[in-house]
Chain length 289, copies 2
């Protein structure tokens, strides 16, 4: 798997999908592009592309599908960073969207990226049947009932509550897990996965999603703001429910590794076609930012 | 056309579509429902239902489709009312969403309603082909290029600029016109409209949309906050570009009537099946709030 090549492919497609900075009203398109091209690692699109590859040959539209996940992810970051929510000034080492464009434009840019995610799927050159399934998966993963918004609300409401293992899992399965799992599912659907393949990739997505979040929590404690490109130590400061807060750093690290191990296991039926997904699982656990 | 009966039908379906207030995380579902059931007139859903009726027999799913428009409309009101945008404390005589639930929850409730609009369409019990067309129409109408968000941005950026007829039209065609036109189009698509019927209903939607906005601008000048259920006189205070500001009240009133007259004219081919749409055009121009 060539990570850099994937990132270029995703970036080029995002550039094609989002209206140019010269398209009126220009400010909103500038704001959308600012956050979209702020150095994201494109983990969700790459998981989607590798899931499709594990199943078989995906139609060309799979890159667009992969980008819809990044549009949703970026909208959620812009809204999360707002003063009313996490109030973050930096993200990936750059000023956050509202610090550059103001709160009003940041709210609208988030709304616009969310809307665009579904537009690019609806306009995709694919048969209508898989398209509606893709849209449904993405709306559910981004929504309130077990989805991203639901996780965000539970996270906000959990601030200051005593660290609790069950609440922690509920929050993270929804807040980051649902969209990561959807990344795998969208790729699987594109490539015409069987039910068993779809379920196996969903399962891989759940393990990798949990590992991703545990590592995120650990990095917030261990790394400097400079290394992370965002303010470190915010979880403790806001008394958020995190894995290190509930289990301690050592156990959290072992839990991430255990999730990673399980992710590898469920890939067995895909053989060598899942080499990229194996690499990604390791990358997610070993990352430093 | 029985307006009250339509409103009950739409309210009952919205109640079915939005997770209950007891579904966790409860706060977000309470916040979504608070604004959704705050006394909206359901103009967009009713236009959708009447457009379908004008064409022929629509499948039962058309009520769900109609509700997707109200979900989008309500999300846009919640975000527009935020302190970072229009900073309104009242809407339809009730406290705005963020005044009750706080800015963070209001942002997330808007996001959730927007996401849910596409979810209910994707999950609709209809063939996949019209479904993807419905979703595409709605995303474009809600988006940045000539759609609702684009109009909102142009409106924000127009504040304080000299009143200009061409900018005024650009703003309103996008800000309120696109979603009103989409209301007609969604109904038309559901009922299997021919190309000519689709175009005629789109045209009706454009006239009615413009009339609606002109009347909105006039009411903001003429009516009291009490009658409107929201703060009156805000347009002038914010130096917004409005029809009365560009054309004066008398000409604005005549322009609304002219748009209404044209709306009636394009309905001719639908005969008596469009009686409801005729009534709605008159209601929109004659309304007092």
């Amino acid at each position: 798997m060539n990570l850099l090549q994937y990132q270029h492919q995703v970036d080029a497609e995002l550039d094609r999908l989002v209206p140019a900075e010269t398209t009126p009203p220009e400010t909103i398109h500038r704001a959308m592009r600012y956050s979209l091209f702020a150095g994201g690692k494109r983990i969700r699109p790459i998981l989607c592309l590798e899931a499709a590859h594990a199943v078989g040959d995906a139609p060309p539209g799979v890159v667009t599908v992969a980008c819809s996940l990044e549009l949703i992810h970026t909208y959620s970051l812009i809204h999360d960073d707002l003063p009313a929510l996490d109030n973050d000034d930096y993200r990936r080492g750059k000023l956050t969207n509202h610090k550059v464009f103001g709160d009003a434009m940041a709210i609208l840019a988030g709304d616009a990226l969310l809307t665009l995610a579904f537009q690019v799927l609806a306009q995709l050159d694919l048969p209508a049947e898989p398209k509606t399934r893709l849209i449904e998966e993405l709306t559910v993963a981004a929504g309130t009932a077990g989805g991203m918004i639901g996780g965000q609300v539970a996270d906000l409401e959990g601030e200051g509550k005593p660290p609790d293992a069950s609440l922690l899992e509920t929050i993270h399965r929804a807040k980051t897990g649902a969209l990561l799992r959807a990344s795998l599912r969208l790729g699987a659907i594109c490539a015409g996965a069987t039910r068993a393949q779809y379920e196996a990739l969903s399962c891989y997505g759940e393990h990798v999603g949990l590992a991703f979040q545990i590592v995120d929590d650990i990095l917030d404690v261990e790394e400097s703001s400079e290394a992370l490109g965002k303010t470190a130590g915010k979880d403790a400061q806001k008394r958020k429910i995190t894995f290190p807060a509930v289990y301690g750093l050592g156990t959290s690290r072992r839990m991430a590794e255990e999730q990673c191990r399980r992710a590898h296991l469920v890939l067995e039926p895909f053989g060598s076609r899942s080499a990229g997904l194996h690499e990604l699982a390791d990358l997610i656990v070993q990352r430093k930012s």
